[in-house]
Subunit: 319 residues, 2 copies
Amino acid sequence: MAVYTDVTDDALAAFLTDYDIGTMVAFRGIAEGVENSNFSLRTTAGDFILTLYEKRVDPNDLPWFLGLMEHLAQRGVVCPQPVRGRDGSALRHLAGKHAAITTFLPGVWPRRVRQSHCGPVGIALARLHLAGADYAPTRANALGPSNWMPLLDKCRIQADALEAGLVQELDAALAAILASWPAGLPTGHIHADMFPDNVFFLDDTLSGLIDFYFASTDLLAYDVAICLNAWCFEADFSFNVTKSRALLAGYQSVRALSRQEQAALPVLCQGAAIRFLLTRLYDWLNTPAGALVTRKNPLEYLRRLRFHNSATDGRAYGL
Amino acid sequence: MAVYTDVTDDALAAFLTDYDIGTMVAFRGIAEGVENSNFSLRTTAGDFILTLYEKRVDPNDLPWFLGLMEHLAQRGVVCPQPVRGRDGSALRHLAGKHAAITTFLPGVWPRRVRQSHCGPVGIALARLHLAGADYAPTRANALGPSNWMPLLDKCRIQADALEAGLVQELDAALAAILASWPAGLPTGHIHADMFPDNVFFLDDTLSGLIDFYFASTDLLAYDVAICLNAWCFEADFSFNVTKSRALLAGYQSVRALSRQEQAALPVLCQGAAIRFLLTRLYDWLNTPAGALVTRKNPLEYLRRLRFHNSATDGRAYGL
């Protein structure tokens, strides 16, 4: 839960004069979200989200993120649409931070994933991949395979305190993943964080995608692997292949996975598991006591990783 | 900032079937608020606030609070209006907690208090006092004068760590306050927490009051004293008598303070200062590391208390 930076009503009123969206009617911090400060903003023109970008987001990346969201929205992907100020710029400054206003999306994210959610998630992911194809600028994935060993190195000394033998297990897993990481698979712009809390539903229909601040240019099938990690495990970390089959069928109804992509699913899923494991591990070890953010248990991804290690090919995922 | 209890979309959807307010459209945790978990809820019928009552609120008091809000709203005080379920009950259960849906109020609370806010606050407080007069049930103030010494006793051992000599200063101040606490002043239902974050404005007009969960039956002029503490000190803890005069003039334009009430203002203000000092002190000493709530500095109220100690009569407040 996160509002790291507060905004005074005076500063907000002044900020809104740079836009053509009327004057403020209501303004409240949003508890969800970990990386940035988000606010529900109602003006006389409607509902919006105000985001202040906090320190983990590189300001140089912001035009790319906002451009991608605008590009995707224009091609029918329902996602927050950056609202441009009178001068044409969507990226502005407020309360000492980079800031942007985006459109409000109706919908509620599913706290308990049902099988019926998974097909629509696959469809939405594939549509996002296709819609992004002609967005020319690229952004390297700052949390891609080349970043995993440096991240593990930062946790190396303390990690075994969390679970005995953890470093050794991760070293072995990571070496194997990097050695067999696929080359030559189709690339494009990926969401890279399409977890349930970033997908809104309304009456069982997917109503929109949010939070594009991990989006990057990487293997499309890696984004599928992230979704399999995010949507297809049960609370006891068992893998629900019925959900996986639904997600993959949804995806392939829009964009078919090549034989190479299908064959690479186990290692891509292992990579996705270790990516979230490592960032959670880093946060676990480095979140100061008293921080406003609830730490997430990294070991949940160790359980996922072990499942993916047992997978030999796409059949493990219902292909 | 606070969402202590999360609510699943499934549980929320089921909960809403007990109401006649349509189905959910959007649902987000609200970062503001310290005592309870609050959510912005949009349904097909409009906007609402969902509150889950957390452990600091006595469930036995909830019907009184909701009844007061309903009573006040019916008499023109703009405040959240409890929404009754199909069975006529506004107080229900969700996610293992007592829960209520109230109406959404437009407006933004003033982060920086201007003189122009203070008159409307005084007017609104006096209207609340008059509107509450015929709400028959009473609720003792659980944070009134008789509770201050027990609260100080709970902090006694640790408090000097915050500031040397604090316990001695508070002991002396509290003894003096309790000795001269006024008897026989008009009583009624008071808000008891009308700080800027509980008062909404829209285009410089007061648009509503929220958070009635400290409301109780006590001296009306004590509520005025709370407001003087909450609205009339500058960031450097200097007392702004122009703001105070505006607040009191606003109040008295609706309900005149008796000569006895006016004369009692210094001690009532001292009491209000020590009440917030003591609860902040208790929270400061007892909030666990890693808690999701930002602790507020109790010493800000020591500065206020010292000002009130220097006041000899109502003239110090601009009367």
